[in-house]
């Protein structure tokens, strides 16, 4: 067990250094860098949404709203108030967390599609309010945000997100969340405070979505309310479902695959979105449980496959 952790640690550090060196020496062309950053941000968004949808079973469609909160709060702090990057990211995330609690408390009493539509509504409300606030540029948004997101920050926060959520899921709290997903009534009977855990999972998801938004804002120079439309929430949901509900590694793989697909199809011009949509339908029809189902991809898994056993 200990050896495995050390091995993972070494692999992660090696990956960090390898990419760092590759960027530094120009081995990764700038165009691929953009997609690398998108990949990291998408991983954070997908894994955090998976906590809400996949592990706790609450269908939320307002993830982009929390990204917007993180993006706007952090951008205002760095650009207008001249604060350093790290506190700005954390402030953005904390604001998203608090708003997650405020939104979660009333709406998480709803279930299924009603919750979906209510959270979608909240995402739209956040967007609608941003359009009306002139301090943050209204519909035109904020531009000229300093480009502070670099590989180190991105990698650190991606790891932080993945490991925090992994540990949360494996803790007592996480087990409670999974129990709620599998059978809310039974969970309640077992003495689990379902409202508490649902709101907790929801706002933790919102917290990390805020981080994703902050990183996004400080890489892409410009944020507008329109950037965080419900299509962005869908994007994150697509990654979660595609990767497998309740599989963290599945979300990571799916986030990478979707970003890659988007980049690979770029040469098709206006046909790109058609191909993407078709792929989406075909993949879901053939693999409705997602790539990984609820399984996790582990090193052991990898070795077993190599030894010739089927999984």
């Amino acid at each position: 067990m200990k050896h495995k952790n050390i091995l993972i640690g070494i692999l992660l550090i090696a990956l960090y250094l390898a990419v760092y060196a590759a960027i530094g020496t120009g081995l990764i062309a700038p165009y691929y860098q953009v997609n690398l950053y998108l990949m990291g941000i998408n991983i954070i968004a997908a894994v955090s949404l998976n906590l809400i949808v996949g592990f706790t079973g609450q269908l939320a469609l307002g993830h982009a709203g929390f990204m917007a909160v993180g993006a706007y709060v952090s951008a205002v702090l760095t650009l207008k108030l001249g604060q350093p990057f790290l506190p700005a990211i954390l402030a953005g995330a904390v604001c998203a967390f608090v708003i997650g609690i405020i939104i979660g408390l009333p709406t998480l009493r709803l279930t299924g599609d009603y919750l979906a539509i209510a959270t979608l509504g909240f995402g739209e409300i956040i967007r609608g309010l941003l359009v009306n606030i002139d301090y943050v540029g209204g519909a035109a948004g904020i531009n000229g945000i300093p480009k502070l997101t670099n590989w180190t920050w991105l990698y650190l926060f991606t790891l932080l997100t993945v490991f925090s959520i992994k540990n949360f899921v494996n803790s007592t709290h996480g087990r409670a969340c999974i129990a709620i997903r599998d059978n809310e009534l039974a969970a309640e009977t077992m003495g689990i405070n379902t409202t508490y855990y649902k709101v907790l999972a929801f706002s933790i998801g919102a917290f990390f979505a805020g981080i994703a938004g902050a990183l996004y804002a400080h890489y892409f120079f410009l944020i507008q309310p329109a950037t965080f439309s419900f299509m962005k929430s869908f994007d994150a949901l697509v990654m979660v479902v595609f990767g497998g509900l309740g599989s963290i590694t599945g979300s990571i793989i799916a986030a990478m695959a979707v970003t890659f697909m988007n980049a690979a199809l770029i040469n098709f011009g206006s046909l790109r979105m058609i191909i993407y949509a078709l792929l989406l339908v075909i993949i879901m029809v053939f693999r409705p449980q997602g790539l990984m189902g609820t399984k996790e991809f582990t090193l052991k898994h990898l070795f077993r496959v190599k030894e010739g056993g089927s999984s």
Binding site: P106, A118, V238, M284, P288
Partner: protein
């Protein structure tokens, strides 16, 4: 006072459009509990079918409307067959994602096939403007037509669902698919028929929307589709009179927010109200409070 009446009329005509779209949404949701995100796009295809029927096939308005309904109904059946049926026993989220996929496919397919430009829709029905209360309130024949069509459609639907054999089968499938199957109901064909009816309704909405707002374009279905879904939820999703009530309510609220406050806050108010209603009465205004089936 005149302004108030004028705004109320504005709200009613907007609401009848939402209601018309919401009817189709509610039909499909009622039977397979799937948010059919592609409904707005079926509406768009229906509008374009109507457009080509009028301009290329030189059909009159009502024949064009029937042509559009047939095209959309077929499309609805195909969508259900290809994208939703294989997923019937899968997690509902998978079907939701396919619905989004189908919606994106039709939108972007429309952009390539029809072009991204706005297409101006022929005014196949003459527009007459009636002035009331000394000219301060006006109503057009189009507004009246839409209102009548919406009410007629609702009554027809109610009749089909409550009085016919097919309707009985629909209700049975909606209530319990497996039991319906055991009772000798062909579940597959009932679902196909429901999709056909829902999509035909979308086509009616599409053609009327094109005529009323004078332009059609590949993305025309997205926002009305979302709003109509909100309307269906407001009224109680799966309930036909609920879609109607929700549509009118939404239309009137939107109009009053725009007319007496500001357009830019309209969506904030609409979605805020939606959430309040969901929290107070989760099953919608006309819905019965039941715990969702697991």
């Amino acid at each position: 006072m005149e302004t108030f009446i004028a705004q109320l009329l504005n709200g009613l005509s907007l609401g009848s459009i939402y209601a018309l779209i919401a009817l189709g949404y509610t039909m499909v949701y009622g039977i397979i509990q799937l948010i059919n995100f592609a409904h707005g796009e079926v509406l768009m295809i229906g509008a374009f079918a109507g457009f080509y029927a009028i301009t290329k096939l030189k059909l009159n308005f009502f024949l064009a409307l029937i042509f559009a309904m047939v095209v959309s109904a077929l499309l609805g059946i195909i969508i259900e067959l290809a994208a939703y049926r294989p997923l019937r026993n899968s997690p509902r989220l998978a079907a939701l994602i396919t619905a989004i996929g189908v919606s994106l496919f039709l939108q972007n397919g429309g952009l390539v096939v029809f072009g991204a430009d706005y297409v101006s829709f022929p005014q196949a029905v003459n527009k007459v403007t009636y002035k009331l209360l000394g000219g301060s309130v006006t109503v057009t024949s189009h507004q009246i037509l839409i209102l009548i069509v919406t009410i007629v459609m609702m009554l027809v639907l109610q009749y089909i669902v409550l009085k016919t054999k097919t309707g009985k089968a629909m209700r049975a499938v909606s209530f319990d698919k497996d039991a319906a199957l055991l009772m000798g109901i062909n579940v597959d064909s009932v679902i196909s028929i429901t999709f056909a009816i829902g999509s035909a309704l979308a086509a009616v909405a599409g053609v009327l929307l094109g005529m009323y707002y004078q332009t059609i374009y590949p993305l025309m279905g997205t926002m009305p589709g979302l709003k109509a879904f909100v309307a269906a939820v407001l009224g109680g999703i799966g309930i036909i009179p609920g879609a109607m009530a929700g549509g009118f309510l939404l239309g009137i609220i939107e109009t009053f927010v725009s007319g007496y406050w500001s357009t830019t806050y309209r969506d904030v108010v609409v979605f805020g109200l939606l959430i309040v209603i969901l929290i107070v009465k989760p099953a919608g205004l006309l819905g019965k409070d039941t715990r969702e089936k697991v």
